[in-house]
């Protein structure tokens, strides 16, 4: 039976890891590389177990597990291995006349002992990807996987314990109690993926110790469909990005669609057609979609589907099977704006379509809601693309595709407002777990008397000239000519 995790355990864990960090265990390039290589071995040698755990927890199809969890992780590790020397190297900074003569640089240093709390929907990706960042940056790290994906949590604990350096990398399994105990400790950074509600709790706990945080939260990611788009491709991408990514249970899932009134029927027909092509006439039997994670979430989704004035707006799907935790891909048309389904992040296989008299109205609709993690637009209209990119505030904007930006290490992935703060992926992960320390090397030449009291008018004039980078004036004052 697993030992109960208590307050003393949390504090001992912190003490141990801090000792390791202070002893310099995690700071060397070789250590970081060795840990990253071990993570790669985990991906290479244990994919079938990972796929199996994900299937147990989420009914995730093999392809999704292999691609969206393992393959993405593998790439992330390989990039870190390739770039680490580069990332660790100091950056030169320019100095100016006021600090002359001096040289300056910015040195990346690890923050220390960090905490990664991950989510249940992509339990491997969202656990290990931040850990990759923490390790690359030279930190000691504790991972707390989500208890709502227990097989994955257990496998993560087993694998990390088996392969990684236990003096600096640890996994704590558990739920609210364990998380609360962990949050009482003084971490040097906390990285959290999950809901906005818990994000607030995490940040409040972090505030007690002035611990900086990255919060990868969520929101209602809108999809705007312009009538000049290639509808077939648009719809296929939306379907793959919604039901093809953990059955809508993803932070950047297309949450709802905005399109012109006249165009909506075309959109609905196209979606019906492609949904059938993807999942057959009986989507409840398709093996290519994850199930709903648990009965709590099933009941939540049932409730928002059954709400009065919502249930009669279903134009496709709507079937439910509580025993198997399945809900069919469901499309709704013009649900009320104040309905439950339009008030919270859906995080499931329901897709409301809201029609507008004029596509221009999409800006107001989106702006009237909390800032989402992603906002999508399908159009060929260059002006609309530009206006959308510039004026819609979201973590990230994707035009003419869905979700793919997640896999791009050269783009920062993170939210704004309710959808979060901070970002990661690629070098942004390394930076997220680093302190960028400013270093100034000054020499002893040129000690200007103007720096010191007693203060005089002449000194003031010289100072002003220096501040204005006015070399001529500087010389004039020095030569007594001003």
């Amino acid at each position: 039976m697993a030992k109960v995790f208590e307050a003393a355990d949390a504090s001992n864990l912190m003490t141990e890891l801090r000792q390791s960090f202070d002893a310099g265990v995690t700071r060397g390039y070789e250590w970081r590389v060795s840990q990253l290589k071990k993570l790669l071995i985990i991906c290479d040698n244990h994919e079938p177990e990972i796929v199996s755990a994900l299937h147990d927890d989420l009914g995730k199809p093999e392809l999704e597990s292999s691609v969206y969890e393992v393959a993405l992780l593998r790439n992330s590790i390989k990039l870190a291995l390739k770039q680490l020397k580069n990332w660790m190297a100091p950056d030169k900074a320019k100095t100016s006349l006021t600090t002359f003569p001096a040289s300056a640089q910015i040195v990346s240093e690890p923050l220390g002992v960090v905490l990664v709390i991950s989510a249940w929907n992509y339990p491997f990706l969202l656990s290990i990807d931040p850990v990759i960042g923490a390790i690359s940056a030279g930190n000691a790290v504790v991972l707390k996987p989500s208890e709502l994906a227990p097989a994955s949590s257990s496998l993560l604990s087993k694998l990390l314990e088996q392969y990684l350096d236990p003096s600096a990398v640890r996994v704590v399994e558990g739920a609210v109690t364990e998380t609360t105990l962990l949050l009482e400790q003084k971490w040097d950074k906390i990285f959290y993926t999950g809901s906005s509600r818990i994000g607030r709790i995490i940040m409040t706990a972090a505030a007690k110790h002035l611990t900086p945080v990255v919060l990868e939260l969520g929101g209602k990611s809108p999809v705007v469909i312009d009538s000049d788009t290639n509808l077939k491709i648009t719809v296929k991408r939306i379907i793959a990005g919604k039901w093809g990514c953990n059955n809508g249970q993803a932070c950047i899932s297309p949450d709802y669609i905005l399109t012109a009134k006249e165009y909506a029927p075309k959109v609905i027909n196209a979606m019906k057609q492609e949904l059938e092509a993807f999942y057959g006439k009986n989507p409840m039997e398709s093996k290519d979609m994850s199930r709903i994670v648990n009965s709590n979430h099933f009941d939540r989704l049932s409730k928002i589907l059954e709400e009065k004035e919502v249930s009669d707006k279903i134009v496709y799907g709507g079937q439910k099977d509580r025993d198997n935790l399945k809900i069919a891909p469901t499309i709704l048309l013009d649900v009320p704006l104040d309905s439950l389904i339009m008030s919270e992040e859906i995080f499931g296989p329901l897709l409301p379509i809201l029609t507008l008299n004029n596509l221009e109205e999409c800006f107001d609709v989106i702006r009237s809601r909390p800032k989402p993690l992603a906002a999508y637009l399908f159009t060929q209209n260059q002006k609309l693309k530009e206006r959308f990119a510039m004026t819609v505030s979201a973590g990230g904007i994707v035009v003419n595709d869905i979700a793919v930006h997640l896999s791009l290490p050269t783009l920062p992935f993170g939210g704004v407002g309710e959808s979060g703060m901070g970002s990661y992926h690629g070098k942004f992960s390394f930076d997220a777990f680093s302190h960028k320390k400013a270093v100034l090397y000054k020499s002893f030449i040129g000690d200007a008397a103007i720096r010191y009291p007693p203060y005089s008018r002449g000194k003031l004039r010289l100072l002003k000239a220096l501040v204005n980078n006015n070399l001529v004036e500087v010389f004039k004052v020095l030569l007594g000519l001003s």
């Binding site: 505030a207 320390k437 000054k442």
Partner: protein, 484 residues
């Protein structure tokens, strides 16, 4: 308070409307505001020096050097660099995604709150505002009530120069701050103590508001006298300037205490004394070049630190105080007890403890035993020691062979770590501090890969695996049916 609540509500409403209108996003608007700030400082130089003298007893040269000149330089830099800063940054995408493009644009957070501190009330108010404005935000400033003349000056003068629908100033103390913090802001920028920093962050957490906290700590100064004996005169001047020459030690990056080998301590003290005299004369109280302690409360705090009998016993120079004039003499201590209050809180005053060590290498362990400071200063030419300091200690910044000057280098990020703060600014970092870095990716509707879509099969899985590994040749083989 009801009236204040109403004022805050109204201000926020107006700022949000202004932001939503898009006015603050235009580069032209931002530049106009920055130019107005420069004009405001130029027009009001004398007035600004006057309020700084009233609030803190600052000499006009000090006021110009640390505040006015600094603000003008900051605004000028922002003006000349803004066009560059607002340009989106292109990102390279892997070949697989061709012809998709990616870029990152900096977008303003929206409506931001700047809470400044009393010790540099002009620059710590205007400098973050410069960042907020450059980034295209609307901004509300609450300056510290402990520098009431500066606060009043800003409240009265800013509206005459800047866009009042977008940039607002509110005066007041903790009760006003509390009202402000109940609201949702898109970013909060705070300069002050760690204690208040925690309160700010907790309040921000309720709204998931990102924060930058510029806090403080005990900034140690290491003197490795072996390697820098030739330059000791200069060093002593720099340290003295860094302790007493800027707001009488009431600065977040002030030299807090000195670490030196036992053998050099008395020489150091004997070198400091004439330098202090050269700065402030025989009677520093009347020199006009030494800022005063900001309030009675802070005076009493310093008094308490100094009145500890064990600390009293360690005074080797100075020690006199005048509550009426809020004056504390430049004071040097030699080895006050390490468990005394003065060695466990940020001094923020003109008292300089010298702590002796057997070997200067011990300074590393000493510094590590305390919370991470905003700055570490080290006078040494020993490369090994420099490397040890850099790699074994953590601080907002490290400056070798000088003090305070890192503040002036706007190519360097200015901010803390751990207890000394989170986030950074100055130069381009100010612009970034108030911006959300938004990723934008554009795909193409022209090409499509069937392998992206269900129903899944082995072919698609193999395709995607190869695609992820960027094994393009094998991908081609697969598609040509030449690979299983």
């Amino acid at each position: 308070m009801e009236a204040m609540k109403e004022t805050v509500d109204q201000s926020l409403r107006e700022m949000r409307e202004t932001f939503a209108s898009g006015r603050t996003r235009s580069v032209k608007w931002r530049k106009t505001q920055l130019e107005a700030i420069i004009e405001m400082v130029k027009d009001n130089e004398d007035k600004m020096c006057e309020v700084l003298f009233q609030d803190l007893g600052k000499h006009s040269t000090e006021a110009f050097r640390d505040e006015l000149g600094f603000v003008m330089r900051s605004a000028t830099t922002a003006l000349s660099s803004l066009d560059k800063w607002v340009v989106p940054r292109k990102s390279n995408l892997p070949l697989l995604f061709y012809p998709a493009t990616g870029k990152v644009i900096s977008e303003p957070y929206g409506t931001v709150l700047v809470l400044s501190s009393w010790n540099f009330p002009i620059s710590l108010s205007l400098d973050p505002m410069i960042g907020a404005i450059s980034a295209g935000n609307t901004v509300l400033l609450k300056a510290s009530e402990l520098s009431p003349n500066a606060s009043a000056f800003l409240a009265k003068t800013i509206p005459s120069y800047l866009d009042t629908k977008a940039i607002k100033v509110i005066e007041g103390g903790p009760d006003v701050a509390t009202i402000l913090l109940q609201h949702q802001w898109d970013k909060i920028f705070f300069t002050g103590s760690p204690r208040i920093g925690k309160i700010i962050m907790a309040a921000a957490a309720e709204h998931l508001t990102p924060v930058t906290l510029e806090l403080g700590g005990k900034c140690p100064t290491i003197i490795d006298h072996h390697s820098v004996s030739k330059d000791m005169k200069s060093i002593v001047k720099r340290i003295s300037g860094g302790k007493w020459g800027s707001c009488s030690g009431q600065a977040c990056i002030s030299v807090d205490y000195v670490l030196v080998e036992q053998s050099f301590a008395s020489s150091l003290i004997e070198m400091l004394k004439p330098v202090i005299k050269s700065f402030f004369g025989e009677n520093p109280k009347e020199s006009g070049c030494l800022a005063r302690i900001v309030t009675k409360k802070h005076f009493q705090r310093l008094s308490r630190l100094l009145n500890d009998p064990r600390v009293q016993a360690s005074i080797v120079y100075g020690g006199s105080m005048d509550e009426e004039k809020l004056y504390v003499e430049p004071t040097i201590l030699l080895n006050p007890p390490l468990d005394s209050e003065i060695m466990n809180e940020e001094i923020f005053g003109p008292i300089l403890p010298i702590i002796t060590l057997r070997d200067i290498q011990e300074s590393i362990g000493f510094i590590k035993s305390k919370p991470k400071p905003l700055a570490i200063y080290a006078f040494t030419k020993d490369d090994k020691l420099k490397t040890r300091i850099l790699s074994e200690t953590s601080s907002g910044s490290v400056t070798f062979n000088d003090v305070m000057i890192q503040y002036m280098c706007d190519a360097l990020p200015f901010g803390g770590v751990g207890e000394s703060g989170t986030g950074r600014y100055h130069g381009k970092y100010s612009f970034e501090c108030f911006s959300h870095e938004k990723a934008i990716m554009e795909g193409s509707l022209a090409m499509d890969l069937e392998a992206r879509y269900p129903p899944w099969n082995t072919f698609k899985l193999t395709f995607i695996r190869l695609a992820f590994r960027e094994a393009y040749f094998k991908l081609v083989l697969l598609m040509l049916g030449l690979k299983k």
